[in-house]
């Protein structure tokens, strides 16, 4: 088991490398130089000044040399400085990252809490009223754009009813609150974004859960369990559920990038200072250092999440954990 973990971690290294290469390539393969925008704003800059600027940023070197320079800095977590305010990129990211992570974790928790029971019930009571209603809701959840739902909810709960805050992560005078008041304030601000963020996930995962359960229920070993005279409840919860949950672990891992992607628009709508909004701002201002850093870090988060999901899966599925080659029973 430990050997597996080590192997997987080692396998990540080439992928990390690949991530850095792509992140670098995306920005640098475009026509023009990153400094062009800066200089465009002031066409009167002389040729020498332009050259000097390029040398400072290392843009006169060949592409691969630039890449290695950047990579070396990366390993020290130095992503360079932001073009907009010249602060170190890494600082800006560390400011924003926790918020995004918080929202996504909460969303993930909400998704799990709701989608698994819904999926199981839909499968066990296939064709029932509950199943049909859930199916309709799921389809709508898939098809409705998150930001639209956010707008609707905002206008309803926020503007009309006025009970939930519609922007920011904390109120203006947060600093002066007591600890409990701070917690409540934070939670109130989080309700809408987390809800909207989890709708797509609940729809998707409950669907997968349903499918997985249906697949498992038709398996031979469920027939065996029933033949043994076990109660239907035991059959479903002990025998079926454990098998049906296995693929869900993988699916969860695979849906991490989707959650992070969703952050972009959500944070923009709700005015939340997170990674997603940072990325959007960076795109508008052509702040390439921030963009590259955003790519690398978000991809890394996805990778980490997938690694955890893989290890969890291997642990959970005895067919893989106890591999025939290592422990045959004769």
């Amino acid at each position: 088991m430990a050997r597996y973990i080590i192997r997987r971690v080692l396998q990540i290294i080439p992928i990390l490398l690949g991530i850095t290469i792509i992140s670098f390539a995306v920005i640098h393969l475009a026509p023009g130089k990153p400094t062009d925008l800066m200089l465009q704003l002031n066409p009167k800059i002389e040729y020498e000044a332009r050259e000097k600027l390029e040398r400072i940023y290392g843009l006169d070197k060949p592409l691969y040399a630039q890449y290695f320079d950047w990579l070396k800095k990366l390993m020290r977590l130095d992503f360079g400085n932001s073009f907009t305010d010249n602060r170190p990129v890494i600082d800006k990211i560390f400011e924003r990252l926790p918020v995004t992570l918080l929202i996504n974790f909460l969303a993930m928790a909400v998704i799990l809490i709701f989608s698994i029971p819904i999926g199981v019930k839909s499968a066990v009571k296939r064709g029932s009223f509950f199943d049909k209603v859930m199916t309709v809701l799921v389809f709508i959840g898939f098809a409705a754009p998150g930001f639209w739902l956010a707008l609707l909810l905002m206008s309803f709960f926020g503007v009309r009813l006025g009970i939930l805050p519609v922007s920011g992560i904390v109120s203006l005078d947060f600093e002066n609150f007591t600890l409990s008041h701070k917690t409540v304030d934070l939670l109130r601000h989080l309700i809408l974004p987390v809800s909207v963020a989890s709708i797509g996930g609940v729809a998707g995962i409950s669907r997968y859960m349903r499918q997985s359960m249906l697949g498992v229920i038709s398996q031979d070993y469920i027939r065996t369990a029933r033949a043994k005279g076990l109660s239907e409840r035991t059959v479903i919860h002990k025998h079926a559920l454990r098998n049906a949950l296995l693929p869900i672990i993988t699916i969860l891992g695979l849906s991490i990038p989707a959650l992070i992607s969703g952050s972009v628009i959500l944070e923009t709508i709700f005015g939340i200072p997170g990674m997603g909004r940072l990325m959007v701002e960076a795109v508008f201002t052509r702040d390439y250092n921030v963009v590259m850093a955003g790519l690398v870090i978000s991809a890394f988060l996805t990778l980490a999440g997938n690694l955890i999901a893989d290890i969890a899966y291997v642990y959970a599925d005895p067919r893989i954990r106890y591999d025939k080659i290592s422990r045959p029973v004769r």
């Binding site: 898939f142 754009p145 639209w148 992607s261 709508i269 963009v291 590259m292 790519l295």
Partner: protein, 272 residues
């Protein structure tokens, strides 16, 4: 299989809506007499009426018209982007699945790396460099969503290439190209087609999202996303500017999803 497809009412419903949308998009100028970009400030933010079934936006433009013209863009981007993704994905996936070994590893590693990037982030990054616009979005979405289809066709080919009829074909003297094109792809394309339909839905949502934050279709070209963006600013004053474009997206994506689900059911040898 077609029988099964036709029997499912929801699937037919989805397909029907898609057809309707395509017709609306194509015949847009005949359906509405307004010009989608003609500004008319005195008619700003009118409620829905017979004259303006969906009301008007903050610049006095007929909302119904804008939404219909936006459907052209949505469908165009959806189909082209996914078509591109499919072409790339099927190519890479079949080559990887059939030849295996180092080629497979290399291609799949590449796909794995690409899959680590949250789609939106990657798309934003590229747009940061090449700028927004209809053509750019189409290409970017296509270039960043081929991985799913590549994996699908690769999985199909991996399992199909050991089938006896492939062995028989080889024994009869078939070349690799013959086997891939005549046996493997026709039998394995099913899941890719399903993925394609869902992909169009996804592309439409992505485009809407991009336009909503201003990095997609640029005004004055109408896109459901940028109509919503303009609507957000006047949220309190006109609920119709937010409701209708969102509904348009909802119905379109729903239609594709229903059709895709139906296709997936039809392709799977029946559930017991």
């Amino acid at each position: 299989m077609t029988k099964k497809l036709l029997r499912n009412k929801l699937t037919l419903f989805g397909a029907g809506i898609i057809l309707l949308l395509v017709l609306i998009a194509v015949f847009a100028p005949y359906i509405t007499k307004y010009d989608p970009t003609c500004i008319n400030i005195q008619d700003a933010l009118l409620r829905p009426s017979l004259e303006h079934p969906f009301g008007t936006d903050s610049l006095g433009r007929d909302l119904f018209t804008r939404i219909i013209y936006a459907s052209r863009i949505a469908l165009l981007i959806g189909f082209v982007a996914v078509g591109l993704a499919a072409a790339i994905g099927v190519f890479f996936g079949s080559v990887a699945g059939y030849f295996g070994g180092k080629i497979d590893s290399a291609i799949m590693r590449f796909a794995d790396v690409m899959l680590c990037f949250p789609a939106f982030f990657l798309i934003l990054a590229v747009i940061a460099v090449v700028g927004p616009g209809i053509f750019n979005i189409m290409v970017v979405i296509g270039l960043t969503s081929w991985m799913g289809m590549a994996r699908l066709i690769r999985a199909e080919i991996l399992s199909l290439k050991t089938r006896d009829y492939v062995l028989a074909s080889r024994s009869l003297g078939a070349s690799n190209f013959f086997i891939i094109t005549k046996h493997l792809i026709p039998n394995g394309i099913g899941p890719v087609l399903v993925s394609l339909i869902f992909g169009v839905a996804g592309a439409i949502l992505t485009e809407a999202g991009l336009s909503f934050i201003g990095l997609g279709v640029q005004p004055p070209d109408p896109s459901w996303g940028n109509i919503l963006m303009e609507g957000k600013a006047v949220m309190g004053a006109g609920w119709w500017v937010i409701l209708f474009p969102g509904l348009a997206i909802l119905i379109t994506v729903l239609a594709f999803n229903l059709f895709g689900e139906g296709l997936r059911d039809a392709l799977n040898p029946g559930k017991s």
